[in-house]
């Protein structure tokens, strides 16, 4: 089958062995690749009795069929594992050049199991991938390690995925950093690899990805490229990336000021964070991932102030929220600095921000004092304190040993009701969006299979497309579906978008470029058919997405998760929001209504949230249904 390389690597660290096997192409038709095959293999390889830190846990790096092709924004790759932070399913997705390079080396996927007896790294170069001694990578920052490997392997073209010192020392939310500025950021992928003693992967490839019908595929890619570039969001995105919506979030009450105690940054401080300040004083030029016309990243330079001289890539909106709004800071230089620090030490910037914010609020409320925090006063906006406590976290020492566990576990350790301040879902910190002013995002956070996450659904439709709406959602009025104010229709909307997002993650392309409205989803089906030679229409494609969502769900159900886990933090269920269009409201009453509708759209049990046999069998997952029935996790 074209578009796949047809080969994958099995890395058994117990035996220090790397073997090549065929990519199961029959499964590829059902799960597409990327996050889809990742979820399939995780379900098969990691039974519920295995813990995240056990050698039996697996990490599956999987590119999609479109990764590395001329399809716009084809730089994505997924990493799937049992998360050490949450103890449930997770996958994390990265851009950059690593995914394409893996395909060019001739491999669709790498499945890593076992535990090496000493620090090791994996070198993938054409025909002879091998495990090498990685002692010299111990305690090196990901930036130092990247340079070391480049010198050692003697090639500017190598792409690296590296475990930083934080995960090596024990921080649970270690991110696997790709060539310094990209990462499999969320839910501790690097921590699992650190526990396996695999400190990095370097890859270089000189093979190609072949296509079923190259000429027609090229024409389809050109059509999609035109569609992306003529969409209404393109001009802002191509200049600012996700940062571009910061002003909108501030204006519509979606900023998480001081751990979501307020929904906007005080106006006098926001001028330091606003989009214009970034463009005029920090941004130098645009930077892109592999084959991406949007170039949503930027090279920045901090010219003056405490962090003057710091240079690097991004920040994203979520980085800005994590290290400004969430912590009561308003120094954009600090945001840039911590963006780099999180990449250097290899930790998830969002989870770090969430955990710190919980601790800062616990300090504000007197639940902890300087006696607990190694003498560091955790005051909102105090950059001296932030520097000191950040050091403790990345070196996993003192109070950092608590905060390095992630927001939920850290709050449990603190006790005294600190868990009420932990802004998390299923054990992972939320991606900082204030959901009381956008209820359907709240639903999406509640149901996301990897915990508090906005990207599993990303339920946004861009612009007004009445015809597309009719095709996608039948006769439901567009206003009802897209309006922030309406509750009705949101369950169906989120379920649809979860399926669609799973498709995009499985194909190895970028979710930001393939937003509904930027392109028509049907165009994806056409492109995939031309690339692989297998016929897909939108319905078949979305069914693959639904299958992927169901196997993720089944993995979590098998671990005992039910409807009670599909919720959002108490703060959003009980405390009225202080500003924005929904001022005075919370999600307490409406989340259950949206959830009912969501389970109905999914064909799952409304009372328990568990998958049903009929839905699983409709998707060809009879064995999964049998498995869940045996362990008592199938809807009765």
């Amino acid at each position: 089958m074209s578009a796949y390389t047809g080969k994958m690597l099995k890395v058994d660290l117990d035996r220090e062995e790397v073997i090549q096997v065929s990519t199961p192409l029959d499964l590829a038709e059902k799960y597409l690749g990327g996050a889809g095959l990742g979820a399939y293999f995780l379900y098969q390889l990691v039974p519920p009795e295995i813990k995240a830190d056990a050698p039996g846990n697996a990490v599956i790096l999987s590119a999609g069929p479109l990764t590395g092709t001329i399809m716009p924004c084809s730089g994505r790759i997924s990493a799937t594992t049992l998360s050490p932070v949450t103890g449930i399913f997770t996958d994390s997705n990265s851009g950059g050049d690593f995914g394409p390079e893996l395909k060019f080396a001739g491999y669709d996927m790498v499945i890593i199991t076992g535990q090496a007896s000493r620090p090791t790294y994996l070198w993938i170069d054409g025909e002879k991938p091998e495990l090498r001694d990685g002692a010299h990578l111990t305690d090196k920052t990901t930036w130092e390690a990247d340079e070391l490997l480049r010198k050692e392997l003697g090639d500017w073209g190598i792409k690296t995925a590296l475990v930083g010192p934080a995960a090596q020392k024990g921080v649970l939310y270690g991110s696997l950093v790709i060539n310094k500025y990209r990462a499999f950021g969320k839910t501790g992928i690097a921590t699992v690899l650190a526990q396996k003693n695999l400190l990095g992967i370097a890859v270089r490839g000189r093979k190609g990805v072949s296509l079923h019908d190259p000429a027609s595929f090229e024409a389809q890619c050109d059509k999609i490229l035109t569609s992306i570039k003529s969409s209404e969001g393109y001009s802002s995105y191509s200049k600012l990336g996700t940062y571009g919506v910061a002003d909108l979030y501030q204006a519509t009450g979606r900023m998480p000021w001081k751990n979501h105690q307020e929904a906007e940054i005080p106006k006098d401080l926001y001028k330091n964070i606003c989009v214009d300040n970034f463009i005029n004083n920090y941004k130098v030029r645009d930077v892109a991932c592999f084959n991406c016309p949007i170039h949503c990243s930027h090279w920045f330079e901090v010219k003056e102030g405490r962090y003057g001289g710091e240079k690097g890539e991004k920040p994203e909106l979520v980085s800005v929220m994590a290290f400004s709004a969430l912590l009561g800071c308003s120094d954009l230089g600090a945001v840039c600095y911590y963006q780099n620090e999180c990449n250097r030490y290899g930790i998830d910037m969002m989870e770090c921000g969430n955990t710190l914010a919980m601790a800062f609020e616990a300090y504000q409320r007197g639940l902890i004092t300087t006696k607990d925090t190694d003498g560091i006063p955790l005051e909102w906006g105090n950059l001296d304190s932030l520097e000191k406590i950040f050091e403790k976290i990345v070196h996993f020492e003192g109070f950092g040993k608590v905060l390095g566990l992630g927001v939920k576990r850290a709050a449990q350790k603190i006790g005294k009701g600190a868990d009420q301040l932990a802004i998390e879902v299923k054990g992972y910190g939320m991606s900082l969006v204030e959901i009381r002013n956008a209820p359907h995002w709240g639903l999406a956070f509640a149901t996301a299979s990897r915990g508090g996450d906005h990207l599993k659904a990303l339920p946004s439709i861009v612009g007004n497309h009445p015809k597309m709406f009719k095709e996608l959602f039948g006769d439901q009025p567009p206003a009802e579906i897209t309006s922030l104010m309406e509750i009705k229709g949101k369950g169906k909307l989120v379920a649809w978008f979860e399926n669609y997002s799973a498709v995009v993650d499985a194909l190895g392309i970028c979710k930001f470029a393939y937003k509904v409205g930027w392109i028509h989803p049907e165009d994806l089906a056409v492109a995939l058919s031309l690339a692989t030679g297998i016929h897909y229409d939108l319905q078949k494609l979305l069914e693959c997405g639904e299958r992927i969502c169901n196997i993720q769900k089944a993995f979590n159900a098998r671990l005992g998760l039910t409807r009670k886990d599909d919720t959002v933090p108490q703060r959003f269920l009980k405390e009225p929001i202080s500003s924005g269009p929904k001022k005075g409201e919370h999600l307490g009453a409406i989340l259950p209504i949206m959830l009912d509708e969501y389970y109905e759209a999914r064909g799952w049990n409304k009372q328990t949230g568990l998958p049903t046999r009929s839905t699983l069998e409709r998707l060809g997952l009879k064995e999964v249904a049998d498995d869940l029935e045996k362990t008592g996790h199938l809807s009765k």
């Binding site: 590395g68 500017w156 296509l211 645009d286 930077v287 892109a288 592999f290 084959n291 170039h295």
Partner: protein, 169 residues
């Protein structure tokens, strides 16, 4: 008609490598940057990417050294085009080219920029306009314009109707 050449503005290059990918695709119908005539070298640490390509030199060492005269000047574009049927894969051209502008593939077959017969794909798919296909006299003039505009700025500001023409921001 004047002679057109490829030129690059490093400040506009995002390092996306679409030029590499599309170059290889248009010549080989596969997605494989290692078959590209264009090579982008990325220096992530300092946020810079350098696209490298054959400069189609006027005095071309590759053409002179070729024992079978496989490299010939195309009249229409001025490109030095490699005639595959004449090439004996001796690699001598790669040894004398000062810029690494020619590349051998794994089967020793050579690849060399042919300016896509006057409509280079690398330029067509360069999103920011970092790569351009311009009259040879144009290559330096944009930089000169930018400097001139900078020097003249105090005067230009006095008349808001004055439009700037340089591509540099």
């Amino acid at each position: 008609m004047g002679m057109k050449v490829l030129s690059v503005d490093l400040n506009l290059c995002t390092g996306c490598r679409s030029c590499e990918l599309r170059c290889a695709f248009t010549h080989h119908l596969e997605c494989n940057p290692s078959k590209s005539r264009m090579r982008v070298v990325k220096f992530d640490r300092v946020g810079i990417a350098i696209p490298l390509f054959c400069l189609n030199c006027e005095e071309a060492f590759c053409k002179d050294i070729c024992p079978t005269k496989a490299i010939q000047r195309e009249k229409k574009t001025g490109a030095l085009v490699l005639k595959e049927e004449k090439c004996v894969h001796c690699l001598a051209c790669t040894m004398v080219c000062p810029f690494g502008g020619l590349h051998a593939l794994s089967d020793r077959k050579m690849v060399k920029c042919d300016l896509c017969d006057g409509d280079p794909y690398c330029v067509k798919y360069c999103e920011t306009g970092a790569l351009r296909y311009v009259e040879v006299e144009e290559v330096g003039i944009q930089k000169a314009y930018a400097l001139a505009e900078k020097l003249a700025l105090p005067y230009l500001k006095s008349d808001p109707a004055m439009g700037l023409v340089s591509r540099e921001e």
